[in-house]
Subunit: 412 residues, 2 copies
């Protein structure tokens, strides 16, 4: 009997693992509650009407169509029975010989219930389309609002969190408004519009060298008209007013929360030991302690590297997938598993047209050069030639014509 | 004071009227509850994962951005006070000197409540995306369904109504399944899949000559594997079983209702005299009787032409818009309004790749030639060069690679 390897999650890690097993003498079963793989790094562009969801997502079945040892099941995973080696799902149990848990992350609201209720996260297609609908609706409502104060609140957009997602979201939102929407709303007074980026610490992009963090803040502030505020911790948002620690209140109808991530809530229910952000503490070989046939990778796994926890980012998930697959292969040959070694590919964040910061191979650079690198890297990583082509065409069009194609309010 | 012309509805008629007034010495206010104009003739392609909503819809503000006398308001119209000349909306009244009611149509379920509840209409973006999600979800569920009978019901798709929408929907759905999804689902037994097109009368495409109707049925049946049934009137659908007049029951989890249209329900509440399908009886000059400053056009207007009611189709709406605008201009010059004359541009329906039927200028043709004409006509009519380009690229890709890009299940 060929061993069955069940992979939970079709994100960067799970998909990579499934592909890496294509020539292995095993059966691969991939489970996900969505039927598509999502290229999350470009999700903020869906939220700002630049891209359509279909352009950054691709059905899992289409991606792995030609892999004969592969099977996909769209199910909701509800637990794992490690004793009988079965994944529990809403459509019955799925038995495994090896299990790769690539469960992924979700927005971490740090217990702020009011923000869960009134704010927007940015983790999935539904989130992104909800933000797009809401932002455009705010503009439509502002046009009809006679009261100046309420109009300004409709046109105040608060992004919380100075990591890459928050920086990219704030920059893209400001460009959507200042390059595109101003043309749609000739009666709009641009002075009524505010985009704020709130960061609790004293710098943006903590993974980057200081001078790039400063460059990012400077560019956001001077070129993109984003009000960057440091030491600004959000305590509450009731849908109309953002309350900061210290008591300051910002009237705003939109709050986008990009201030934290954690492992998906399912992770905590599996009975495995979890560490910070609800991530499962794994052995250096990426196994769940006590369950050598279970691998945990990506956002769901907690592992320290040179004394600091590995970040919840795609490169970590992808590299971990390779190690997990290699270790399963070694195990099938009765060899001892190898410890995971992370090779940091560096980091990139775009702020808007012609503006990005990059820290690659220890080299820091910014501006147009970083922006071109960002663009190339993202096009290369997008899955499927069709998606690459359509995204590139969209970007080219938007770049030259100052447009955004997806400015539709599609929710009833 | 320049007169204010309020147009209700941003469909084919309303948009055409707004554009036709661009050089007139008037202020134009266009009201719609959506912020976009939708190219409805291609909506079935969104429902069958071929196109993305953004490619057949364009924001009204973007379309009419350069028209200085134009203003758009996204509001829900709730009524009209003809005495004080005000349109009532959820955001307060909008006064007018002339009113053009281009309210459009909606699905006519003929009082069949069970179909409203369990079936799908195909009038808006939300409908189309709902069908796409549902059809793809049926395939995912069928893969997990051990019971053969229930699996077959999941894979039985019933389209009701043999007009252009039903014919195009059934053909496109069958092609989606037989050309694309079979590759995604290698374990699928294609014999389990049924696409039915139910028509209550004894022919498809009633507006076409007999031999084209026959050719369409023949092509659907022989080439596209659609089971075309005549004399099949649907009485009930409970989400699992379709019941026909006569008692026959078809187990199916999907019913798409393309069997009728009527004026939107708002039309009936305006206090104007309505005729068949809830449409407002208008004078030959397209005015509401007793209200010479109110024009009713498109699906909302009932007018007979050579003894038969004008159909609820885009060409009628567009031509009526031109007449309404011309009559307003004449009125401003104190000239008598002119009667509407409809020029029938003919009709077209596509059945799938390389297959369509066309009846243009009294000439009937079919097959590849008709399909090419259909393609050209639709690309030309799509609004905006970007949409034309992206739709054409999508079609080319799908044609050569037997693909559909938008196979995502995006509803949680």
């Amino acid at each position: 009997m060929r061993p069955t390897i069940v992979i939970v999650g079709a994100g960067f890690g799970g998909l990579r693992a499934a592909r890496a097993l294509r020539k292995a003498p095993v059966d691969v079963v991939l489970l996900d509650r969505h039927n598509y793989h999502l290229f999350q790094p470009l999700l903020y562009q869906v939220a700002t009407a630049g891209l359509e969801p279909e352009q950054i997502a691709k059905p899992v079945r289409a991606i792995l169509r030609r892999q004969p040892n592969f099977e996909f099941r769209m199910v909701e995973v509800t637990g794992v029975d490690f004793a009988t080696r079965q994944v529990a799902t809403d459509r019955g149990p799925v038995p495994y010989d090896f299990l790769i848990l690539a469960l992924g992350g979700e927005t971490n609201y740090f217990g702020l219930e009011s923000i869960v209720r009134h704010g927007f996260g940015l983790k999935g297609v539904v989130d992104a389309v909800a933000i797009r609908n809401h932002v455009l609706r705010c503009f439509e409502q502002a046009m009809l609002e006679p009261d100046a104060e309420r109009r300004r609140a409709l046109l105040t957009f608060v992004v919380v969190g100075g990591g890459p997602t928050g920086v990219e979201m704030a920059g893209a939102l400001s460009e959507l408004i200042r390059l595109v929407l101003v043309k749609d709303y000739p009666r709009l007074n641009i002075k009524d519009v505010r985009v704020l980026l709130l960061e609790a610490s004293d710098r943006l992009l903590a993974a980057m060298p200081d001078r790039l963090s400063e460059a990012a803040a400077e560019t956001l502030w001077r070129k993109k008209h984003v009000e960057v505020r440091f030491g600004a911790a959000v305590l509450d948002f009731d849908g109309a007013r953002v309350t900061l620690k210290g008591g300051e209140v910002i009237p705003a109808r939109t709050l986008i929360w990009a201030a934290g991530a954690k492992a998906v809530s399912l992770t905590a229910t599996l009975g495995l030991t979890t560490a910070r952000q609800g991530r499962v503490t794994v052995t250096p070989e990426l196994q769940a302690p006590g369950h050598p046939e279970v691998y945990v990778i990506g956002d769901a796994a907690y592992l320290e590297h040179d004394g600091t926890p590995l970040p919840m980012m795609a490169p970590v998930a992808i590299q971990m997938a390779d190690t997990a697959v290699a270790n399963i292969a070694r195990r099938l040959r009765d060899e001892a598993p190898l410890a995971f070694r992370y090779k940091d590919p560096g980091s990139l964040a775009t702020i808007g047209r012609n503006a990005a910061v990059a820290y690659l191979g220890g080299v820091a650079f910014k501006g147009f050069a970083a922006w071109v690198v960002w663009l190339i890297v993202h096009i290369i990583q997008l899955i499927g030639f069709r998606n690459k082509l359509f995204v590139l065409m969209n970007w080219a069009w938007d770049y030259f014509f100052y447009e955004r194609a997806a400015r539709l309010i599609t929710k009833e």
